[in-house]
Every structure is written in structure tokens, then in C-alpha cells.
């Protein structure tokens, strides 16, 4: 096992990784920008190194600074968290070339899965269902028309190197295809410095369902149930739950086995997430996230596996601590992301936290880096914590979340807690039968 890990991240995930290290008896190095000197993860770490000014480019995305910090602290491994450099194959390669362990898959696996076209091909080869679409990049207007006609409208034009909704265009009719194709290309060029686009069937009213997998370096891979992340606003997940209220036991098993098989086939190791669109009882592969997810706690709550601990263990070469047979789903879990935002306008609300009291009691978990007197800086994203509950069934989890949201006190700034209170009371949400468009409509109602 490692004796010291550098945590190349900030916020709640940096604290989450620190906790896993502590419980494994591993020393931690926090790297931080000048804006985060007083952060909880920095205070709790065994060592801390200031790596640059607030701008992420000069600190949390500054590979040279992070590697220099690893060097001067004699670190053995680097945990990238999520976001920032977590899915940057070059970073993983540099860590490896420096003789350290990158806690995540091999660089070439990250690279393969980061390329949407190659990833899709690999999934098809493993028998994973994909959205009907063009075979790779669509290079001309005529190719675009041919592909769209084969797939059938509505279609969506997407950037090969993209993500986060940028460079995406939904096209309902042949008439508007060519224009959308050209706009998508130029947006792709602008945002991702790569104008390659491809075309897929557009799924009208899907759910977002993702399978958590975990694999070791000895060829073992297991699946750990799905998470339902259909509750989104502008492509940002807002609330997640596990298991999905709409996935059957058979679907869970089938999709899970496909994902674990694919992981084995591509030589995956560590934690990974296979994202799918669910349309009726059809599933379509979207992408694999080669890192721990924000919403990983809901999986931990229902499976009992500490995913971050397991990431570290398998990176150190250990075998998986569980077999597929050991994985039992116990109850239901929900996570609400608490953002420092106005709950109606979603304007960011940085500032000083003047009162802070998290909920307590049975079945409650709070993953947050903030505290009373902490100043939320305007430099980074607005998620300041996650409230996760566990109940013996979905109904108990919902009741518990409502109770916990009522107890949560965060003063001095605006947060999305009131939004979550409203969602938890909504009859469509309570029914479990909601799609990715639910939140959009819900927000318009009021």
C-alpha cells in the first residue's frame, strides 16, 4: 500500500479522498491555490503545498506545479478526484513517467474512452447497445444527409471531442440539417479546437442511467448497480438516486454484466462509470467516465463498498475486495447537490458562510468542505456539498431527505436547498417516473 498520496483537487472531493486515505493509514498531501489556503481539506491534510494563484489554469490545472509538489513531498501516488485533470491522459502519463502511481486507469485507456468515436467502436465490439449513428466522423454535408436519413430523424449532431452540451444540435427535419451541421462544426472548433462532429439518433425523452464498475489490475471487474441521474438542469446533474426507480432486476444484471465485460475487454482498472440513455426499456451507451463521479456516494450507501478506498487499493495492485456475488443491493439512496446558487435564478452566490449546521442522525451523510466562517470564492464551481441519505426503501429515503433538508442550516449565502425541498415534495418525482426533461418543466411551473 502507498504511504503517501497527493490529492490533486479541491473542495469536497479532495476531502473525500483525504478521508479514505486516513482510514487506510495513508498520509495525505493537499495541493491548493492561494484562494484555498484555509480550506478544510488543506487544514486536515498531513502536508499542504500552495501551487499557484486562484486561476485554475495556474494551479489545479498546472501539471508542472502539481508534479513539483509531488516531488518535494516524496509522494508515491496521485489521486485526481473529478474534474480538473481527472480525465487528462497526458497528466496520467506524466505521473506514470515520473515513477508515481496515477490512481485511475492506464493513460491509453483514458485516451481511448475520451475519444467518442473510438469508445463507441469498443463498446459495439463488446456487445453494448449504442445509439444508432454515423460510423465515426461526418466529414461533409452530403455525408451528413446520408447518415441522418439512414438513422432516421430526429437526430443530434455532436462534437467528437465535446461534452457539457456544447457543440450539440438537435435536428428534427431534413430541411434544417445542413445548417445545424455547420453550426455544430464551428462551435466544436471554437470550444474544443477540433471541428470533427458525428450524428446520432436523438432520444426524445430519456432517463440518464449509469452503471458503476470497479476493476483491478488482475483482470477482475464487477458492477455495482446503476445510478439514476435524470434530474438535470442544463446538463448538470442536480439530484441522483440508486437504484433507479425504473430499472428492473433483469435489466440491472444484463447491463451490469455488459459493462463489466467491456471493462475487462479494454483492460480497465479502477472506478469507472458507463453512462446510458434509457428510452422505455431500451438502453443506449453514451460514454465512460474514467474517474470517480460526484454522485458515487449513493452507490456506496446501497452496496457498502467504499469506492474511493477501493480505487486506492486497486491502484496499489491489490485484488478487488468483493466478488460479484458479494455485491448486494441494500435499500435506497438519494443525493442532493447543494450549490451556492440562488434557488430560483441559479445565479452563483459566493461569499462568507455566517452560519453552518449540517443535519445529523440516522441514515444521513454530508460530504462537504465548508464550515462556519468559510468564504466561498468566486473562482471555482458552485457545488459546496452533497447531502446523501439512505433508507430501507425509496419512500424512507425520500422522507429522510425531506427531514434532513429541513435541518440543514447554511447562512450568509443562497443555496439550492429550497429547490431540493420543492423537488422532494413533487408528485412526479415521488412517483419515480420522471425523464431528463422533468426538471426543466418543473422549473417553469412556478
Amino acid at each position: 500500500m502507498f504511504s503517501k498520496i497527493l490529492i490533486a483537487n479541491r473542495g469536497e472531493i479532495a476531502l473525500r479522498v483525504h478521508r479514505a486515505c486516513r482510514e487506510l493509514g495513508i498520509q495525505t498531501v493537499a495541493v491548493h491555490s492561494t484562494a484555498d489556503t484555509d480550506a478544510m481539506n488543506v487544514r486536515l491534510a498531513d502536508e499542504s503545498v500552495c501551487i499557484g494563484p486562484p486561476s485554475p489554469l495556474e494551479s489545479y490545472l498546472n501539471i508542472t506545479a502539481i508534479m513539483a509538489a509531488a516531488e518535494i513531498t516524496d509522494t508515491e501516488a496521485v489521486h485526481p478526484g473529478y474534474g480538473f485533470l481527472a480525465e487528462n491522459a497526458e497528466f496520467a502519463e506524466i505521473v506514470k513517467a515520473s515513477g508515481l502511481t496515477f490512481i485511475g486507469p492506464e493513460p491509453e485507456v483514458i485516451r481511448l474512452l475520451g475519444d467518442k468515436v473510438r469508445a463507441r467502436d469498443a463498446m459495439i465490439a463488446s456487445g453494448i447497445p449504442v445509439v444508432p449513428g454515423s460510423k465515426g466522423e461526418v466529414k461533409s454535408e452530403s455525408q451528413a444527409m446520408k447518415a441522418a436519413r439512414e438513422i432516421g430523424f430526429p437526430v443530434i449532431v455532436k462534437a467528437v471531442g465535446g461534452g457539457g452540451g456544447k457543440g450539440m444540435k438537435v435536428v428534427h427535419t431534413e430541411a434544417s440539417l445542413i445548417n445545424s451541421y455547420n453550426v455544430a462544426r464551428s462551435e466544436a472548433q471554437q470550444y474544443f479546437k477540433n471541428d470533427a462532429v458525428y450524428i446520432e439518433r436523438y432520444i426524445d425523452n430519456p432517463r440518464h442511467v449509469e452503471i458503476q464498475i470497479m476493476a483491478d489490475k488482475h483482470g477482475n471487474a464487477i458492477h455495482l448497480c446503476e445510478r439514476d441521474c435524470s434530474l438535470q438542469r442544463r446538463h448538470q446533474k442536480v439530484l441522483e438516486e440508486a437504484p433507479s426507480p425504473m430499472v428492473t432486476v433483469e435489466q440491472r444484471k444484463e447491463l451490469g454484466e455488459l459493462a463489466a465485460n467491456a471493462a475487462r475487454a479494454i483492460g480497465y482498472s479502477g472506478a469507472g462509470t458507463f453512462e446510458f440513455l434509457m428510452d422505455g426499456d431500451q438502453f443506449y451507451f453514451m460514454e465512460v467516465n474514467t474517474r470517480i463521479q460526484v454522485e458515487h456516494p449513493v452507490t456506496e450507501m446501497i452496496t457498502g463498498m467504499d469506492l474511493v478506498r477501493e480505487q486506492i487499493r486497486v491502484a496499489a495492485g491489490k485484488k478487488l475486495s468483493m466478488t460479484q456475488d458479494d455485491v448486494k443491493i441494500n435499500g435506497h439512496s438519494i443525493e442532493c447537490r447543494i450549490n451556492a446558487e440562488d434557488p430560483e435564478t441559479f445565479m452563483p452566490s459566493p461569499g462568507l458562510i455566517t452560519e453552518y449546521h449540517p443535519p445529523g442522525g440516522s441514515g444521513i451523510r454530508v460530504d462537504s468542505n465548508v464550515f462556519n466562517g468559510y468564504r466561498i470564492s468566486p473562482y471555482y464551481d458552485s457545488m459546496i456539498g452533497k447531502l446523501i441519505v439512505h433508507g430501507k426503501d425509496r419512500d424512507e429515503a425520500i422522507q429522510r431527505m425531506k427531514r434532513a433538508l429541513d435541518e440543514y442550516v447554511i447562512g450568509g449565502i443562497s443555496t439550492t436547498i429550497p429547490l431540493h425541498r420543492r423537488i422532494l415534495k413533487d408528485s412526479t418525482f415521488v412517483s419515480g417516473n420522471y425523464s431528463m426533461h422533468f426538471l426543466e418543466h418543473f422549473l417553469k411551473q412556478v
Binding site: T34, D38, L44, F371, P378
Partner: protein
């Protein structure tokens, strides 16, 4: 935000009595503060919490390098500190056999190399930002340093 825009903004402030401007757009934040009126400085007093921050709950024996957070504007009277622009290892000479770039008591010119910070096997030469007399070296040769850590005290010429 583009550099050009920022330059325009700064120019725009000239001749006005605006002391500070802060602009946030598409995730970028720009803040320009000026001291106006002949030496009268506008202090940006961001009175921050002292009372409520949890005291570091675990005071671990942190490794010497990592313990010190970058010093925040210590008062050195007429002396000015040179701070490290990056994380790395601080060297006072280009090789173990070479003489030190500067000794205490030396006069340095603006732009003169005064030390090296090594990061990822790259030797980064650090230059004096102003001329003056080296009064004190604050770090030993081969010490690890953080971003913003103070390296030398210089009495400006």
C-alpha cells in the same frame, strides 16, 4: 475576456476617480484596483472571519516544507521580499560546485538571476524584480518552496 479588452478597461479608468472595478463574465473574474490621488492608497480591507474557522483539528507534525502557508504581507519596514513564482526546489547556485548567485550584502540589478527553482527537472532562473541590496536569504539551499513563499529580503536601491 481578452487581453485587449482588459487593456481597454484599464485605459478607460484613467482620469476617472474609480478606485476599483470588478467584472465577472463567463466564469472569468477581473478585478482592477488603483491607488488614486497622490500616494493615498485605497486599502482593500476584506475583513475576514477570524472567530469561526475551525482551528486545524489535527495539528500533525507536518513536513517542514508543507507547514508554512505563503506568508501574507509581513511588514519588513523598508525591505522587500522576493517571493517564489512556483513550487519547486530552491537552489542558490547553478551546480554544487558553482558559486552562489548572490550572497548577503551583494547589490543586485533588476533582471539579475538570484536563484533557481527546480520543478519537474527544469531549472527555472528567478530574476530580481528590482535593484537593491540582498539583506537576507530566507531559505537554505536545496529547500523545497511553495508558490508565494518568500526567498530573499532585499533593500531596494
Amino acid at each position: 475576456m481578452e487581453l485587449k479588452e482588459i487593456r481597454q478597461l484599464i485605459k478607460m479608468l484613467d482620469g476617472t476617480d474609480v478606485s476599483e472595478i470588478e467584472l465577472t463574465r463567463e466564469g472569468s473574474t477581473l478585478r482592477i484596483a488603483r491607488s488614486i490621488g497622490g500616494g493615498e492608497v485605497v486599502p482593500m480591507v476584506t475583513q475576514t472571519m477570524v472567530p469561526a474557522a475551525p482551528a486545524a483539528p489535527v495539528v500533525q507534525a507536518a513536513a517542514p516544507v508543507a507547514a508554512a502557508a505563503p506568508e501574507a504581507n509581513k511588514d519588513y519596514g523598508n525591505l522587500k521580499p522576493v517571493v517564489s513564482p512556483m513550487v519547486g526546489t530552491f537552489y542558490r547556485a547553478s551546480s554544487p560546485e558553482s558559486p552562489m548567485f548572490v550572497q548577503e550584502g551583494d547589490m543586485v540589478k533588476k533582471g539579475q538571476v538570484i536563484c533557481i527553482i527546480e520543478a519537474m527537472k527544469l531549472m527555472n532562473e528567478i530574476e530580481a524584480e528590482f535593484a537593491g541590496k540582498v539583506v537576507q536569504a530566507l531559505k537554505d539551499n536545496a529547500s523545497p518552496v511553495e508558490y508565494g513563499e518568500e526567498l530573499f529580503l532585499i533593500e531596494p536601491a
